[in-house]
């Protein structure tokens, strides 16, 4: 197990604009993101969309095959976190201060889950985010998210 990997910040190029697809190759392929196998889907000026595939070992209820809501939290955590760096145009160390999810409906067995994170406001210290999860149709969301991230400066290492 690679607990001694270099800090994320040191792996991200500083001479170019923040690239969510590239960073997802770190955040979505190692650690908990790797366990869920997060895929980069797309991004805009202030948003990033990631996705995870349904898997039997991510299920909350074996009778229905409904995905564990915690998998959706992780997806939204990563997508909203990356939306801040995307809006900012560069990486800055931060941690999740709080995250809320409203579950509009379950995510059914076999369905891929997309999580779109949007950074709607940035200050020197706080990134304000919202977002939603869906199964492929953005007009039929399964969950809404909102939260805040706090910049941690040097304290991250």
């Amino acid at each position: 197990m690679a607990f001694n990997k270099p800090e994320l910040g040191s792996l991200i190029p500083t001479n170019t604009a923040f690239d969510p697809a590239l960073v997802n190759k770190l955040m979505g392929k190692f650690g908990h993101g790797g366990f869920l196998d997060m895929e980069y889907v797309g991004h805009g000026e202030d948003w990033v969309e990631l996705a995870i595939d349904w898997r039997a070992d991510l299920v909350a209820d074996p009778e229905t095959g409904i995905l564990a809501s915690a998998a959706v939290i992780s997806l939204m955590d990563n997508a909203t976190s990356m939306s801040i760096w995307t809006k900012l145009g560069e990486f800055r160390p931060q941690v999740t201060m709080d995250l809320r999810l409203d579950y509009l409906r379950p995510s059914p067995a076999g369905a891929r889950v997309y999580g779109r994170g949007i950074c709607y406001h940035l200050t020197q210290t706080i990134g304000f985010v919202r977002g939603f999860a869906h199964n492929g149709d953005i007009d039929d969301p399964l969950a809404h998210a909102s939260g805040t991230f706090i910049r941690v400066g040097d304290r991250v290492s």
Binding site: G31, H32, G34, D57, V59, A71, S74, D77
Partner: protein
């Protein structure tokens, strides 16, 4: 979601090696060992893995409370808010839920996660669940 914990921990929890390690006043304490699959930034727990642990503890607590009332109702999660207070270090993490109020149609549950010291939570989750009465067989 008709009682995912009624017959033990769900696949998601087992995949992250969670288990019931203790009980506090009858309510299960869920433990989650540190491993690469629950890691976020290097050396620290991923917020989503902490959230997962909190949700399992909350669900375990509500099932315990329902059973204590002699109820065989199921639950459906409406929402969750997680407050992250401290970085989760690379070690064993515990969580226990507390049913603040169990009504006929909904329940308010709080779950807290800690590592060395239960009085220093690393995260607290606040959840709302709908209470679902079981369908009558053959009806």
């Amino acid at each position: 979601m008709n009682g995912p914990l009624a017959n033990g921990l769900p696949p998601y929890a087992l995949a992250l090696d969670m288990e019931v390690v203790d009980r506090i006043d009858g309510t299960p304490v869920i433990g989650m060992p540190f491993a690469d699959k629950v890691q976020g930034r290097p050396g620290f727990l991923h917020g989503g893995a902490i959230s997962g642990l909190l949700e399992m503890a909350a669900i375990a607590a509500i099932h315990q409370a329902l059973r204590a009332k002699g109820s065989d109702s199921g639950i459906k999660q409406v929402n969750v808010t997680i407050d992250f207070m401290r970085g989760g270090l690379g070690q064993m993490t515990y969580a226990v839920g507390e049913v603040i109020r169990l009504g006929r149609t909904m329940a308010n549950v709080e779950a807290r996660a800690w590592q060395d010291d239960r009085s220093k939570p690393i995260a607290i989750g606040t959840m709302h669940y709908l209470i679902r009465r079981p369908k009558v067989e053959g009806a």
